[in-house]
Symmetry: D4
Subunit: 227 residues, 8 copies
């Protein structure tokens, strides 16, 4: 059987085989009890639990069933590993433009570490003080993949893309004055980046960026194949 | 009398006294004959003619009445001066992020020069190759005001704002792939600029930026007053 | 070294030299402790502290470290100066269309005064009673720069632009019935102003308008230079 | 029978009795032959023909069937009266902010005149030269109803509303630089007018404004009734 | 003097003469003390007080200064008359599509009555049960003006416009499932009404509709004039 | 008489005859007392009560008048039947993409059951684990109609449409990260479905989908007629 | 094999078995030669060809390969049947609000007839003359399913839904003045319909509505089954 | 020197060293002569020329200067290599949902091949016939990276993400009926994908997706490094 049917949820227990990572719980809109039951099932099957967009109420229900679960309040994540995923070589850089973008960056960092990656944090390097970014060029180029988190106009990925040769995944945040329209400004800015090859995930979706970066990094662990 | 009534138009002949510059013709939506009649009235009153968003058909009608009028096809402007506005000291910088933004930049340059300003052109300095911008820092700082024209994500004003201490007027352009949505991405990017003090004009409105810059530059021609 | 690295923030201590004003803290999305630590660093380096979008919780953390800090509740700002910026000659006008726009106007006033400018306040002069504005024409023309704050349809900058020859910076506010869409109506109105030379900042961004106006005013303090 | 069924159209021949005016043809999206057939039916029933959004091709088909029909090219209307509607006392003012708004204003004027109203035209009185409007205060107050046509930021109705005591119907036009978004800026501006009592019709809908104004004016033709 | 300057507000005391009705207070965004001070000034000048979008906190401050003021909680209005406006002949109809639209309808009713009009209420006559509307045809036609309040798809004004010959002012409300987008659906529906001559005010703006209707009704109180 | 007039509401008592189902109360924006009074009237007339978007406060008022009423908290519905609607043959499938979509699915289920339908629940079968859906193909094909509830990108209806031959009604939900924009992403996704014949209802409108499905299912209860 | 691979296309030859109707060609964005090759493959497999959004150039290429193909220019469809689908009992009603909506209605009619359905056409019955609709009540109720096509405010489905007990599929069209925004107004209107059970397809998507209606009608051809 | 200044353009000749690929010309908005001059400069420096969004007029100017240049009309690209980039091991998959998406897919293919990658084409595998996709699972998993191109609801990347473990870059296209809003529906769909780790580029931006994929593939050519 490739999934466990809890009635209100079908936990995809075949996912790790197919996609490389176990299922992750998106907690928003689920009741605490539902989250806890799904969490228990995933942990039993895959040994690695990650819940995103979790409220303290979600965590309370989970920790009753799984007392070793941890809550990361700024990144709003629940984690617990009984089986460690293999530790990857190389690093993934997580940049953010301003301190206000930290909650989204933390969601990315937690996801990356849960999935076995080492993280290089380079925070508060927005383009309004571009020298703070340029001095980090070597550290950036030394990473396998870069996640760039920014709100407001979302210009940081464009600047980074012009400095390095590594894949860049941009995460717009909902930080900004009125016409940021909940992150729309940063999202459109990143989609229209003049920096070639920048790809983009949903607003405030630190998890999604980390998942994509971890997928690339996992590929890099083996020697090249094919013709 | 403070205006001339042509029936279909009331040419504001008091404007130069009140606002410092003569009236300018926004040609879009006007018939060629209307534009020509307004042009003649303005020139007679103020000695300086500027028509923006002018089509070749507009120009044909104008040049019949005013044979010395000139047409600037890329910037879509008609100009003619019989009385030169005083030449201002200092320069106004016009930057653009990419070659595709040149038509809008040219509208700004023509407006600035018609209004008596000297222009410093710094083209194709987008943030994807930030070194092309940084080498120009002194030239930028040497200007009184900077107009920064950019499409796509509109990130250039933010980068410029972090390098210099001069007023920056940003002009979003409608250049870009699909989700630029006719310049909306660049507009929102500039309005949300993390570079403090950037102000913004309408999409593709090179004229408006130049008018604002010229207003600041005119102020700078006199010694400071007041307490 | 041109910045101080606090881990979660890189305080740009070179900014005053490059851009003319010290760094300002945008408090939204930052924890109170982060704001307080950044505030202390900026004050030590530059002697002038300004925090915008500050909640009472932010202020509480700041005032513990910096007991002389002041909180401006309507404008949501924290300020403290240990070194006074030079007092500029001339005045900057701050207009608002209605009493409901006062919080945004106050953010502008606090920023202007913190940066050494004298302010002329002209409040509640919306176009629905245009005579209230017209009687102020001389006071308006007497200012070096005008900041015009308005919600609803954002028409005030257009009317002001037709009366005076000074630079106008328009600030849309989020005040209005349903279809103001959080200030979008005023923003679009100002961007489309028929009053030539109006430039615009983000919705409710009194700080940004003040920063731009202060930049222009600083320029005006010296005699004209260049050819 | 209260309508004539042409298969592709049901011409509402009871409309004049119910609503006070005969049916009007909205030509867009109809073939020339359909327009001509509907036109003939309406004229036979009601003696007054008005077709809006008519192309020259529409007119060609109509004039074949109804040789006395007239085409108003700037307002894109077809008209023909075999029975004159009664001439109303008093005037309806049609204002427009700029010359570029004339096509929409003309659609309104043709509709008003076809429906038996006298029109006062007050063109090119935008708020950027507010004195051009203020000198017309008495002429405005002398009208029964005012139609105010404006593009760009659509500020004119607000200014007019503050000057007079008459009903004001605002028509946004699609004239403007990029971020007018096809008239959205003017539409939102008018809906958010700080001038109390301004009502609004669709973008470029001169016909709709005229129909509403004519309805009010018709009411005014009789002495007051009721308790 | 044509206005009273309270520092934070300029109360327009000339408004009643110019526009026919005294100034009304839009309370949103004003502090309770500001509202109370403005209220007192208006009442002293004009004898008729109307405050819209008033919270209980606003009312508390007003009633301390003006103990006879009344609060209408569902319509969120404060009223007080010391001088009664003349009672108009005839009635103004206020229709609403559903019971959920009552708060907006009540704002209209209060405004109409404060301004001396008699109101005919016809509630819950949405197009999903069109027979409930059709049976009211004579009552509708018996009114001088009709205000039609509707949320969701905002179809009611179109249906009413096809039944009667009176001016119709449509008010979209923010009532509806997800894709009403805060009243946008109803607003667009009304602006695009196939019912000729429908004019529209802002979302949830019962006051604006009432003001416009009262303006028309006031006109109807005198016998027709002019040629 | 075809409706009962409660003053604030006209309860449509002819609806069951015309449309096949009794009137349903949309509780949002109504006071608890209004809901209770309408509920009592409907129950007396039709014997079947359904209130959607009901808060606990609504229910409290209803249960005082109708002590046997039941509240379904997750689906936010109030129900009570004194006359059972006839039980239909066949089943209606209700699918949802994720556990977070359950509240909307429950609104659909309650509506369906209140209207006499049998429901097949197939939950958590999103396209990210398409095998969970494909194994259910026979159960899906065995239903008369399918309601497919999904948030995020709303892709599930497209996948279902390619597997079965039954009518599919898609319900977008407001579940998702930032750029779901309150369900807009799922709504647009479903409207643009490449799966032919998918029809769509409003965001989070489980009731509407169920009503449409129940209408189809009622039709299916009789043998085919006509030529 | 369940599809034919043409390199640029995989024609789904299993679709008729799974979904009940053969594959249909959406011609937009395909070259004429691609359309022709796909057309030939579908006809050989299924005997029924339908191409939507076809230009004359598409048809020219098709008719070279399949000389008996027919082009329906107003509905922009190509059709050809070598095997007739079984003729269904009962009728499907196609209503449209105005003559301008006919092209979309025709796309629906062609699709319905190609799929073996009989069509009842009821055109030009918009809510502005609601009597034209009400007289058709019996014809409407006599249909199995109703497709309702409307532009502008899209109010017709709501009115129809209040009159009959049959499933209603609404099709918004892009017909309308400025703020119809390409059919957005009608789309939102229909999604927010107060008429319970209305479901909606994409703007101008007559094909999609017909496909859904034909699916329901096919179900109705057999006697009811199940418990 | 790290760039060549052509006056209207600054060709970034340092880009290949910094970012791994030479500069590419975005032709839109540039004159043919500008494109040709930039093309010549790039070819001389880097030996690899790629121009995107090129019209035939652009190509004509280029081919005069560089007679061996090739034009790819469906993908609107100009290419020419005098120095071949090294051939990468492994393949990059390019999927598209429908034949109408081919122009965007071709832009991606040309970019990939110009940059030295081998491409696996898997076309017309939309989710409406999901079996066409599932049979390709092994071919998909055999690629290093997958580019997934889709219009309409953009659901294909979600389905692919659930089947494989490789990085997925999604490209929304502007193909679709009315409410695709120029690709907005597909864009939002992809950003909200329930398939973890999907990253997204701009609408119709096949080039951007290919650049990002090529960046990842280049990384994979070397054995893993680091700790």
């Amino acid at each position: 059987m490739t999934y466990v049917d809890l009635g209100f949820a079908r936990v995809d227990t075949d996912r790790k085989r197919r996609c490389g990572f176990p299922e992750v719980i998106y907690c928003e809109g689920k009741t605490p009890d539902e989250v806890a039951a799904i969490a228990k099932t995933i942990l039993e099957q895959d040994g690695v639990l990650l819940g995103t967009r979790a409220t303290p109420a979600h965590f309370e229900a989970v920790v009753k069933l799984l007392p070793q679960a941890r809550y990361h309040s700024r990144g709003r994540c629940i984690t617990l590993e009984t089986v460690l995923l293999p530790k990857n070589k190389g690093r993934i850089g997580v940049l953010c433009a301003g301190t206000s973008d930290l909650p989204v960056a933390e969601e990315a960092v937690i996801t990356l570490e849960t999935f076995g990656n080492q993280v290089e944090k380079i925070f508060d390097v927005g383009v309004a003080g571009i020298h703070r970014l340029i001095v980090e060029r070597d550290r950036l180029e030394g990473c396998n993949v870069l996640i760039v988190v920014a709100g407001m106009e979302g210009a940081l990925p464009s600047a980074v893309a012009g400095l390095v040769s590594k894949p860049i995944i941009a995460v717009p945040t909902s930080i900004g004055y009125g016409a940021s329209f909940g992150g729309l400004a940063a999202l459109l800015g990143m989609l229209n980046s003049c920096g070639s090859g920048v790809t983009v995930v949903n607003i405030d979706n630190g998890f999604g960026a980390a998942y994509a970066a971890a997928t690339i990094n996992r590929l890099l662990q083996s020697a090249p194949t094919g013709d």
